[in-house]
């Protein structure tokens, strides 16, 4: 058998024969998920396909996170439709406040190492953090998975990203690393491919860090992103999937982690990457910390470290959406939430919040937002006449403190 990448290994195991990049195959799917943006259309397509029973209700998840709680009657009725479908089919259902789909799937161990997972949300590759092969699909593809338990796909070729080094500079986090990777690969450079992370740095990265690295492969156009399991800790035993030494990659990217400074994606594309220092001083009025990229406990803690005993000045606002109910509880227990609230932050419901431009903090005309999210496309947050800069939670926290883009460091 020829040497294989992690994606090739996972898919080979699922189809029962060795498969390699470029081959088409029909793959049994272990788990699947849809949200309130994609779920209603998926349910409609499932019905139109003649679907009555789910192929695998135990491993199908419906979650309300994109516009939760419902901001209007139209969306409230879509939520009703999802609730009754879940009741009827016996699938897992997560109502408002549970959190963002990707955080909930990982928090609740709904996806495991070596599995194939299809999610009707483009940031589904996040689960590569737990050494799974997870892809984002649209509603109709998901409906087919609901009905048949399978999907057809092309085995992706892989880009290998080697993260060298043993630590990160002060004020630098996994977000800055992934922005650096996006800069090199660009918004379309990994189209149809798997982005596979390797290197010594993995031993020093938390599960949350790994989720950040895989989350933003969506901003490279990738089919999936997978972190090699070195250093992966889960509260149960698992069989890790490593790449073979001689596996074939279309590209190898070497990154010296210790050389990376805080990074920023400037409007209007997530691959428009610069040093935060190059834009330091740019006035902002609105900071946002949350999303499937950076709404986890360590993100809130890094913001709290900067905002402790400080006040966000008048004319600037900070909106925080904890990524899940668990994150919210953890941040409450350890005092992080109190620090953030005392500094003047607005805490909103666990969910996607203003990232998808539907509710919970739409920017006004001409406003400049600094956000810990993953996309800064024009109009992303609901107003095409606003500008969005993407950065780490630490950079967002430092910036709201001064009302201008600020490099996070000890003097903050």
């Amino acid at each position: 058998m020829l040497p294989q990448t992690i994606a090739e290994k996972i898919l080979s195991k699922h189809v029962g024969k060795p498969v390699y990049a470029g081959e088409l195959c029909v793959v049994p799917v272990d788990g699947a998920m849809a949200t309130d943006t994609t779920g209603p259309l998926a349910i409609k397509a499932f019905r139109e396909m003649g679907g009555e029973r789910l192929a695998n209700p135990e491993r199908f998840h419906l979650i309300i996170d994109h516009a939760a709680p419902a901001p209007n009657e139209r969306i409230a009725n879509l939520h009703r439709m999802m609730r009754s479908f879940a009741e009827e089919t016996g699938c897992h259902f997560y109502d408002i406040g549970s959190g963002i789909c990707h955080q909930v799937m990982v928090d609740h161990h709904r996806v495991n190492p070596g599995e194939v997972f299809m999610g009707a949300d483009s940031h589904t590759p996040t689960y590569g953090a737990v050494n799974a092969l997870a892809c984002g699909v649209g509603s109709t593809d998901l409906a087919a998975v609901m009905l048949t338990g399978k999907i057809w796909l092309k085995v992706p070729s892989s880009i290998r990203v080697n993260l060298h080094g043993h630590h990160l500079r002060e004020g630098v986090s996994a977000k800055d690393i992934v922005l650096e990777v996006v800069k090199h690969i660009t918004i379309s450079g990994a189209n149809y491919q798997s982005v596979e992370y390797h290197g010594e740095l993995l031993h020093y990265l938390s599960l949350s860090d790994r989720m950040v690295l895989c989350n933003m492969v969506a901003e490279m156009g990738a089919k999936t992103g997978i972190v090699s399991p070195e250093g992966l800790q889960l509260p149960f035993n698992f069989e890790p999937v490593f790449a073979d030494k001689e596996a074939v990659y279309t590209r190898v990217l070497d990154i010296e982690a210790e050389t990376i400074h805080p990074r920023l994606a400037i409007p209007h594309s997530p691959d428009n990457i610069h040093d935060v220092s190059a834009y330091a001083g740019t006035p902002i009025t609105y900071g946002f910390i949350g999303t499937c990229t950076n709404g986890r406990l360590q993100d809130l803690q890094s913001a709290a470290a900067i905002l402790k005993n400080k006040k966000i000045p008048s004319g600037v606002r900070l909106v925080i959406a904890p990524a899940s109910r668990q994150v919210l509880l953890d941040a409450m227990k350890d005092g992080t939430l109190q620090i953030l609230i005392e500094a003047g932050a607005s805490i909103i419901n666990s969910g996607c919040g203003p990232c998808v431009g539907t509710h919970d903090g739409v920017p006004g005309d001409g406003e400049v937002v600094i956000s810990a999210a993953n996309r800064n496309f024009k109009g992303r947050m609901g107003n095409p006449r606003s500008d969005i800069y993407l950065a780490s939670p630490a950079t967002v926290a430092a910036s709201v403190l001064y009302g201008r883009i600020t490099v996070p460091n000890q003097s903050n």
């Binding site: 396909m49 994109h66 048949t148 918004i187 024009k378 095409p384």
Partner: protein, 161 residues
């Protein structure tokens, strides 16, 4: 024949149909706002049956199937790109929006175009040129020819590679 509306690279799904409009099953609402953040004059310029011609990576970003649905409901007859973002490409074919990847062409705004999906052939009548699309794998061609994944699965019950 249909008129080409030509746009650039990396047109993301947030601009094809902003997130604030996506949470609906009312497809006419999607069509009413399609492409408005790419080209505010799109709605007044576009006539039913016209086609969209884009550069690289059309449809990048969100997995929202509302993007190809909005284009289809607005009666876009075809989207041509040098290449598509992968989720958009699958979604378009799955919902029956004709799409072709044409790596080499010189189509300009307003050119008169006709096309043959099965052959992957695009004719530019304004410039008297013919372009060839990147061939689709048989499974995708079959899904497209059946009008989408719903009619395909109703007919075949399974995927045939």
């Amino acid at each position: 024949m249909a008129k080409a509306h030509v746009y650039g690279d990396n047109i993301d799904t947030d601009r094809i149909i902003p997130g604030k409009y996506t949470k609906t099953l009312d497809l006419s609402m999607l069509a009413a706002h399609v492409m408005e953040d790419v080209d505010p004059a799109f709605a007044s310029r576009f006539q039913e049956g016209d086609l969209i011609v884009a550069g690289d990576n059309f449809g990048c970003g969100s997995s929202r199937e509302q993007a190809p649905l909005a284009l289809k409901t607005a009666q876009v007859s075809l989207v041509i790109a040098r290449f598509f973002a992968r989720i958009f490409f699958r979604n378009a074919i799955n919902i029956g929006l004709p799409v072709l990847e044409v790596p080499h062409h010189s189509i300009q705004m307003g050119d008169e175009i006709s096309f043959n999906l099965a052959e992957g052939k695009v004719v530019n009548h304004t410039r008297q040129e013919v372009y060839q699309a990147t061939p689709l794998p048989p499974v995708m061609l079959n899904i497209m020819q059946e009008g989408g994944l719903v009619p395909y699965l109703k007919k075949y019950k399974d995927f045939i590679l």
